[in-house]
Each structure stands twice: as C-alpha cells, then as structure tokens.
Subunit: 239 residues, 2 copies
DNA sequence: GTAGTTGATGTGGTTGGACCACATGGCCTA
DNA sequence: TAGGCCATGTGGTCCAACCACATCAACTAC
C-alpha cells in the first residue's frame, strides 16, 4: 500500500463515517502529516487526487476560502476523466453523443412538470431570446445550462452529474463543430425553437414527446455540424 | 496556474496530439521535471492525478512493468469518483441503482444478437451453474462480469465504462445487502434463471423484452435485499 | 478616538536534495 | 559455463527550507 493511498483511505473512511461532511475542513497539511505519521508530500499527493475528483478544494491564505475543505462536485471528476480518455482515443466521441442522447431523453421523460428547475430552464430560454444576436460562445454557454437544468428536473443526481460531464468532455469539440455550420444564425434560431418545444412538452407532462424532441434536438445538431452521421441512431453493423 | 496543472496540461496535449498513445511511456519523472523546468514533486502530483483517472500506471524497478505507461481504464476513474461522492452522501445509492437500470436496459435493448461478447456472457453463466453451491462473493464476482459482458455487447464504450463504475461504486453496498436476504440460495437460483432468460432474449433479438427483464432483474434484487423500495421505479413525490 | 500601517501567524505552493526498495542486465569471478 | 554481484535506472518516501497569500491584531500617527 503506497503512502498516499493510506491517506486517501483514511479520508474516505472519515467521509463514509460522517466525521467529515461537505463544508467541513481537513486538518492542515502539516498537521495531517504528523497525525498520520507520513510526510507532507504524501498528504499532498492524496489531496491532489481528491481535488481532481471534485471532493475537496484547496485555498491558500487565511479566512473562509483557505485551507482544504470538502466539497462535492462529481461533474468535475467525471468530466476530466472522460475528457482525458477521449484524448487517448479510447472513448469515441460518437459514443459520448449517443450516451448523452440516452441520458437526456430519459431525463426529459422523467422530469416532473412542476419541478423548480424548470423555472431556471425557462429563465435561461428567456435570456436566449433573439439567439441570432448572441455570440456563439454565449449561446453555447446558456445552452449547456439549459440542458443541465432540464436534466436536474428529473431529480437523479447521478444522471445529472454524468450529463454534465459528458457535455464538458466534448465542449471544445462542439465549439469547433459550429465552424462547420453553413448558417450559424439559422441554426441557433432552430435550436432555440426546439428548446421551447422541449420545455413545453415537459410542462405539459408529455414525457414521451419531450424525450423524442430532445433526442432529435441533439442528434440533429451533431448531424448538421458534421459528426459522422453513420455513427448516430442507426443499428450498428453486425461486426 | 499551479505547477502540477501545467504538467497535466502538457501531458493531455501530448495525448490529444497523438504523440502519446496507450502503451506509450512517459519520460522518467526526473527527466520530465527537468524538461518542463519544474520540480519532481510537481511532476509526481500530476502523475498521481492521472493514475487516479486511470490514464497512467506506474511501476518501480526495471523492465516492461516499470516506469509510467499510458493505459486507458475509464471505469476505474469513474468508479473511484462515484464511490467517493457516495461517501459524501451527495450521490444517493437509489440514484445509482436507478441509473444502472437505465444504462443496462438500454444496453440490453441495443445489444446485437451475434455480438462476440455474448459468448463471454454465456461462458460466465455456465460457470455459475448450480449457483446455490457458490460462495456469495464468487457469485457476485461472476455476476458483475456477466452484466459487464452484456453491457459491452451494446458496443458503446462510454455506457460500458459508466456501467462498470456504477457497479463498482456500490459493490460493497451490494455485498452487505445479501446479508438481508432471507434465503440466499433461493435468491441466487432465481437470479441465475433470470440471467439465462435475459441472455436468451438478447440472442433472439428481442431487445424490448431483454430490457424489461434486465430492469426487473436489478430492481427485484435491490427490493428484496431491502434498499428502500420507495426509491425505486416509482413516480417521485412532486417536491 | 480613529484611521492607517505593520508585523505575526497560519495556510497551501514549490523546490532541491537525499535516501530507499525494486528489477534488470551486464560484468566478473569461481 | 554457471553463478553471484554490482552498476544502473526506475518510482516511493521523506525532510527542510522557502515563497505567496490572506487575515487579524497590535501599534502608531494623526
């Protein structure tokens, strides 16, 4: 057992036991090192891992933002991991998109029509009015938040986290794809209209229609932007 | 930008550019530190993160198993992250199970009837014959591999990785639950029979039935084992 | 008395150097 | 030729020191 793993296990046990909860603070690095009888180096390696996993946040100086405090940001962890594995080319982008369609369709079908997150989604849509006037980056940023709000309305934290991480892992890719579009303004308008239709379907409690609209919405964008259409929504070749 | 992040970005760029592929080796820690003009400590922190993400594997000594080589194990990364966030109680176990049902149902519906992974699944089922005679741990281990093989048959690497990580993150939990069962042998027998039925449905190309069977299979186990039934497969309270 | 300055304190961030355990491979010896 | 032994290179660990930063308290000048 390597030393930094010992520290990791110690912290994970504290988390599981409830001694350490979100918002709580880890002992200072030097103190923790002495307490566990390991070097500060090993403590730091463990904290780096937890930080990459979205479990803690470290800050220098004094005051409330300093020290190492427990947070919970599963999306960050999953997102970085997926992005890295996409970089190794062991996770095809087409599979990411397909999974995104799966999760978002489910979330749309599952969302309750009076979920408070739908208010956020509506507010985001309002901010996206006249989408042809928005810069691409701003449109995409709002788009991400709209889809996340929709996913959150389904009330499943795991699905929400996975959704966000999928989106994050191919964010740069999607931004590049917009360069392929023949007419960005027209596309933005269409996407915006589809957003309204999706939200309306959810609010009417028509989960089935919402799911179909979401699937068509996502697949439509990637097809138009030129992600190999043969990879999407078709039966796979029988190897 | 913290120093170890600089190293992380350098490596990620190398991965994206294809200069570094799975099976390739990173420069030795000391060499990399000198090359990037940072301390070895910072290089090590970056490598620790990549190791936790399942992107890299480190080994001491000489020979083929030594040094830091690029691998690709997305399941490990997602699994650790989910497990940690379950520990912080920000990811309810019920949501994990629900997501597992979602992904596995989709995979079962999507699997092609002649996928080679189904051979593996069949072999695992054969190894599980007479399940009442298997120790609990062994049964569960084979069970995990069966479900993974089935998920792999759908041909989506992202779904496979997420499936595996979900399973891993609640593995300890599932093992505990078996203690709640009134009659483990009978349950094992039933699960085994359900496995056969699922595989048969996939082989017949009846994806819809396979999906239903999978969902019932998973939900049935957790319900019988005592995971709050109110959390599963029911409309959520309207907050 | 108040306002501004200054230093003490405690936090993570970074560095260099030292030593260890391990695995290989080549050299040297019996 | 066979065996042992050490040189080499790898990651693993530890230590001691220093830095940048942020707060807070004490002090000083007005």
């Amino acid at each position: 057992m390597r030393t930094h793993q010992l520290v990791l296990h110690w912290i994970e046990e504290r988390l599981s036991a409830g001694d350490l909860a979100v918002g709580g603070r880890l002992p200072a690095e030097r103190a923790l090192a002495e307490q566990l009888q390991v070097s500060r180096t090993s403590v730091r390696e463990a904290i780096r891992v937890l930080e990459a996993m979205g479990v803690v946040r470290s800050g220098v100086g004094s005051g409330p933002d300093s020290g190492t405090v427990v947070i919970s940001d599963p999306t960050a962890a999953l997102g970085s991991a997926l992005r890295l594995h996409v970089a190794t080319q062991h996770l095809p982008v087409a599979d990411i998109v397909e999974t995104r369609v799966l999760l978002e369709s489910w979330a749309a079908a599952r969302a309750t029509r009076d979920a408070p997150q739908l208010e956020d989604a509506a507010a985001l849509l309002a901010a996206m009015d006249a989408p042809e006037g928005l810069p691409v980056e701003e449109f995409l940023a709002l788009d991400v938040r709209f889809h996340l709000a929709l996913a959150n309305a389904a009330g499943n934290a795991v699905v929400s986290a996975m959704m966000g991480s999928l989106r994050e892992s191919i964010q740069g890719y999607a931004a590049e794809l917009t360069g392929n579009l023949p007419d960005w303004k027209a596309t933005a308008c269409r996407l915006h209209a589809e957003h309204h239709a999706i939200l309306a379907a959810v609010r009417e409690g028509d989960g089935g229609r919402a799911a179909q609209l979401v699937a068509a919405h996502i697949e439509g964008f990637y097809k138009e932007a030129g992600l190999g259409a043969e990879h999407l929504a078709q039966p796979r070749p029988t190897s």
